[in-house]
Chain length 382, copies 4
């Protein structure tokens, strides 16, 4: 028998929608999931937004105050999809109340924030899943499997890049994203967190690093009232307080080296999120823009060894839960369905599936070390 | 207020799942849809399959005999996702019973079959939608809009290709797909029907054509019992009765010329479905394997005019109903959600949205003409 | 000891330069060639052009009248790089005079023209090489070797495309290229001749075909005086007499099927010359724009078998005569050096190397059949 | 009137051939060059090699001792294409003898070496050209022009990568390349020197950097006797003394940031030499493997601005000296012809054309700084 789990969603922007849909779709793709989510309530302070969400998706209730969830006995698990600066407060409170937690990355503004939420979850003995969903892409899962199987030998060097153009327009409004108190470390928490998680997921722990950051657009027009992600503004200019662009060199405990780049102002790049990994006998490359393709060079040639383009298919990660044949497109949202299924399974079985708060802490510690490195101009050991 | 529409699904293989999920997801992406589907019943003769479907997706009931739907007053609309040779019988009966019809391509084995279903629907005054879902890809919608706006000038020539490897293995079982009575015209109905629909959708009516077909693997091992799409077998060899591969030249009433190719035995090709279209001032190209990308050459250069790679985004077709920014992956299933939304809207408003039975008839007539051309060795006018 | 061969070049446009450079460079890449060319004389009626050529490249003499070569005892071999309509007259005269012949494609305007030149060469017992230089690209040589070795199984279907934009501008002058008397069959002789030669070279003889042609820009501005390839004009419009675009279906004697397309008015395409070839166990694809890359799918998978991108290197065709490692770029001109080396070797050894007049005749016969097919609207057997 | 310049070539391996061919071909592509090279002599200690070179290319003489050139009055200019560890001695001696110098990168093993050669050339008042030939690729020239014209705005960040697999085989012989005394800084001098030169050429001076290096294959089999670039060996293992792989972060005086990577052991990579450059309004990318293609994103969109693939053509750098239309392939060797023409022109006109010894010094100083950074673990200012 399938058990039912009451869930709530806090914060109903892009990710609020994505988590909700993923809860609803989990059983479409994982018919044997031991737990099915039912939508209890949704919280968002923006007038009307929670109500509309309830109407659209069928939550039993809605509220503007997320604290109400903490006392609602029907709510057994909570998705935290509010802005970063609220992750710590909400995340810790949810965990302390004994509820399981599916929380978006980067889990706060600093390693300290992530640590606080993780400690609360451990203390309360609840399950946690963190929104590092690029792991879930079947081609990424296949990359990890190939590395683990030794298909490319010992990993020697790698490159991780997360480039976006979402803040590339100089007239983009000076929203909360560009302040340190609310937007944290800018592109580090926003995009580099994913890159660091993929780096750890694929290559293991990072030993030391050196980083360089730059604020490419140092001033932006201020805005009166609320500003969405892509709003333009024309108020007097105010200072951008956090990072637009990051370059870093990494060393892994296993000996591999890497470069890692992240940008939120990269004109020409829409979701250029990916990696290239070289080993002693082969190489792998992936780009989210072609999510289902993995470039693979394996063999015993060492020299003049070609790459082949493999279209993910049944047998690669969770692909088979979505499509019957290689090369049939999966979506970004599907990676969230995989994540939801992992979360539900982790609640059912009491063991983690997929990225957890420990991973969030580990990634946040790396990001903190990058800021340290920028401050000191030196390599930082982890 | 949103009206509720009782739906049934007949045939619960790949497409049965896809239609069901699409009904359930339509409101996730189209919150203002005037009609929401609720799942009444599902029919499939395969033991246990309909029951499992009901359990997984929440149909109120299930049956092994699709005829029961015809007398169930809760069923107002039916998805016909059974094999091709049943489309005519089931499709016509559904329409005659006054139920709206979402039916998979190719709508039977011949133009005659498609015509019979279309006539029944017209007679009964019911809405119809046909599963030509490649139209729904935002990049394809954008291609159509660009052509309509004159962005590439007058269309002069084009290429349509639908290549798959699903029947490429010579030990693939001699299933019903390879008989003329049950599999019809082989790759023509299966894949070329999509290509012809895209050709018509983008370039208008076809005036005449010449075609060449070949059965690349003339014998396959027979099989005892049911054989799924990809089963292997080792019985004594039996004859393949229909087409593995098609080449054709087309002339359009608007003056454009094209080549059209389809194969089910193309080793190396997983869903190589796409087109290239040239006009007097520009060109477009699309490949389903990179569903969200459209190659576009426009301008006033005529010579040395480059192509750019455009990632579909909000503003291209229905992209905005799925993702907030260009380059974020949509899935094959999302195209079925778009199709479902069109079907539901067409029922609500009494006007067609997207591909209808008229399109199915038009495509089937073209496929018939191709077979005629092969038989006669001559150009055939439509 | 290396023997020296006196050569002349007739017609000093693009190809005149290319042949001359190739003669000079042959020993740079083939130090063991038994024959070295020395430049005796060059003929071109355009005032000053032959003189300038002699000055630039070191021909001993120059002339405006190609007939002078026929009586110059120093001239033992002749490159015919004049316009198509002169190929027959010059080519036959050169051969009849007992001189070896390196002649550009298409060798006249018709199969009859090509045949006349070929007959003269046979009669005189001279060697001939024809400018089908795409054969010489190492990736093409590798493709041929792979097919011959059975690496893709039995060839089942193919596609050949030669698309250019050189005549895409509607204000391009109505030069001799667009008249039937001087430009022959337009895009057929100009580009489709290469495509047909590659088709034959890779897949063997063509058995039958059906073709469709169109003149996309039916009128162009007339011009007074000489007009080069890319001149614009603004005289009163006059009729284009020959073909801008070709589509054809082919059947090969070996059983394979193909589509073949050629265009001189394809906006967006600069030298989109290439092929895709499918066999029962694999596939190959090549595009001249990435001359050194061959896409290869081989193996025993039949389904979900990937393509790999192979960069041509030593071991593929004549690559090793040019560069020491895979992936180092060769040029268009290098293919002419390979052709020159073959021509010189054929003279030295008395046996053909590379494409000969027999190939030119075979290709021209196919082009004639295409025009027949357009005229009759029927398949034509060869 | 064209003046003739007597040239000698010292070191007749790959680059000896390349320089020689380039001298011979310069006038094929630059008919108006005021100087034509004639081949006086060639020096190489390898038995028979210089003689064979003279025989193949027509040098008037040959020798095993490069010092003989210094007293040969016919020799006015010298190509130094011997191994790196000889660059300083030969280069300085050639300059001191008053001969012009075309010398291969990296011009010695250290900045000190490069500086010594440059000082000698300045002192003697001779012209110098250095083999940074990737600058000469027309697509690179176009990239530089676009940046200079402000087509991508102010440059903000970039990536330079030079990856090769030439030393990827663990059984590759422990040749001189892997010793510090003869092979210098390994991949730094060999490949990163090109990357640094392109970085400077495109983005201007480097202000500071931090670097990380690794010797991926720490031991290789020793070899008795001479070992060519790609020889395998099976002697007892000996230590590799220099760098296989480099990662670095760069800051430019103009404010831009970059990552730079170089490897000689990158399995899967054949000449993966290229860059990506982002500016405030656009971006550019180039990869030597597709030498004639430049990816360009320009416009006023900032967000969702696409890249287009531009095939280099007449008007881009020196393309027009080689081919008549965009997209027709040029070769690696053609970049050396461009370099030769620049060298000859610089001798004729007494002003530099293309990369000079000043550039070699500048690049070598950056490489030294990288080694410093590795040693100190800190950022190094230049
Ligand atoms: N895993 C991934 O790929 C992605 C993760 N994210 C993460 O998801 C989180 C949310 O991002 P988006 O959905 O893009 O932001 P958004 O701005 O679209 O939505 C945030 C929502 O939170 C609501 N909110 C603000 N204060 C609240 C409060 N006190 N209580 C409840 N709700 C509150 C806002 O009204 C808004 O509806 C962020 O942490 C972000 O880093 C975002 C996009 C992609
Ligand atoms: N639009 C598109 O892209 C696609 C369209 N299709 C079309 O969808 C249709 C179904 O194809 P698939 O789902 O791939 O086939 P499938 O073989 O996976 O499923 C067919 C189902 O129909 C059931 N069935 C057989 N006889 C039946 C009957 N008398 N009553 C009810 N159900 C019956 C079978 O038991 C099976 O469950 C075909 O017409 C096909 O051409 C299929 C795949 C993609
Ligand atoms: N293999 C290949 O890839 C290519 C082959 N070709 C072929 O090469 C031939 C020449 O084409 P292009 O060089 O592009 O043409 P072009 O127009 O650049 O040069 C033709 C030259 O022939 C000269 N000419 C005209 N009448 C003459 C006469 N009576 N005697 C001597 N010279 C005469 C013209 O003055 C001109 O210099 C054509 O047959 C063409 O099909 C051309 C380009 C590429
Ligand atoms: N610009 C570019 O892209 C490239 C530059 N190079 C540079 O060119 C130089 C030569 O490299 P390769 O030609 O690849 O090497 P190679 O090993 O093929 O040739 C070097 C030649 O120098 C000769 N040599 C050794 N000692 C000599 C001496 N004392 N006097 C005269 N010759 C002597 C050797 O016998 C050999 O023939 C190196 O500095 C290398 O960095 C090499 C390849 C590409």
């Amino acid at each position: 028998m399938t058990r039912s789990l009451g869930v709530a969603v806090v914060g109903f922007g892009w990710m609020g929608h994505a988590h909700t849909r993923a809860y609803l779709r989990a059983r479409h793709h994982y018919p044997n999931l031991p737990i099915a989510a039912h939508l209890v309530t949704v919280a968002d302070p923006e007038p009307g937004r929670a109500d509309a969400a309830a109407e659209q998706y069928g939550f039993a209730g809605s509220t503007t105050d997320w604290r109400e969830l903490l006392t609602d006995p029907r709510v057994e698990a909570v998705s935290v999809t509010a802005p970063n600066f609220l992750h710590r407060e909400i995340g810790a409170a949810v965990a302390e109340s004994g509820r399981h937690l599916w929380i978006e990355k980067p889990v706060g503004l600093t390693g300290d924030d992530a640590h606080a939420v993780a400690a609360a979850a451990t203390e309360a003995g609840v399950r946690s899943t963190v929104g590092f969903n690029y792991r879930a892409a079947p081609a990424v899962a296949e990359a990890r499997a190939l590395i683990a199987n030794g298909a490319i030998g010992r990993v020697t060097n790698a490159r991780f890049r997360f480039f976006s153009d979402y803040a590339a327009h100089p007239e983009g409004a000076l929203s909360w994203r560009f302040t340190r108190s609310h937007g944290g470390s800018g592109v580090l928490g926003d995009l580099a967190s994913h890159a660091v998680d993929l780096a750890r997921h694929l290559l293991g722990d990072i030993e030391s690093l050196v980083a360089d950051t730059v604020t490419v657009i140092p001033e932006r027009p201020t805005v009166t009232g609320a500003a969405s992600h892509f709003s333009r503004a024309d108020g007097p200019p105010g200072p951008v307080e956090n990072e637009d662009h990051l370059n870093a060199l990494l060393r892994f405990t296993g000996g591999a080296r890497a470069v890692l780049e992240a940008s939120r102002v990269a004109v020409g790049e829409q979701n250029t999120y990916g990696f290239e990994i070289h080993g002693t006998t082969g190489a792998l490359a992936w780009d989210f823009r072609r999510m289902g393709e993995l470039s693979v060079s394996t063999g015993a040639d060492y020299q003049s060894q070609s790459y082949r383009t493999v279209f993910a298919g049944p047998g690669n990660g969770d692909f088979g839960a979505f499509q019957p044949g290689a090369g049939i497109a999966m979506s970004y949202d599907d990676t969230k369905v995989i994540e939801a299924a992992g979360f539900l399974r982790s609640v059912a079985e009491g063991t983690p599936y997929g990225p957890t708060l420990d991973d969030a802490v580990a990634a946040a510690v790396v990001l903190d070390a990058m800021l340290d490195s920028v401050r000191t101009g030196a390599w930082v050991s982890l």
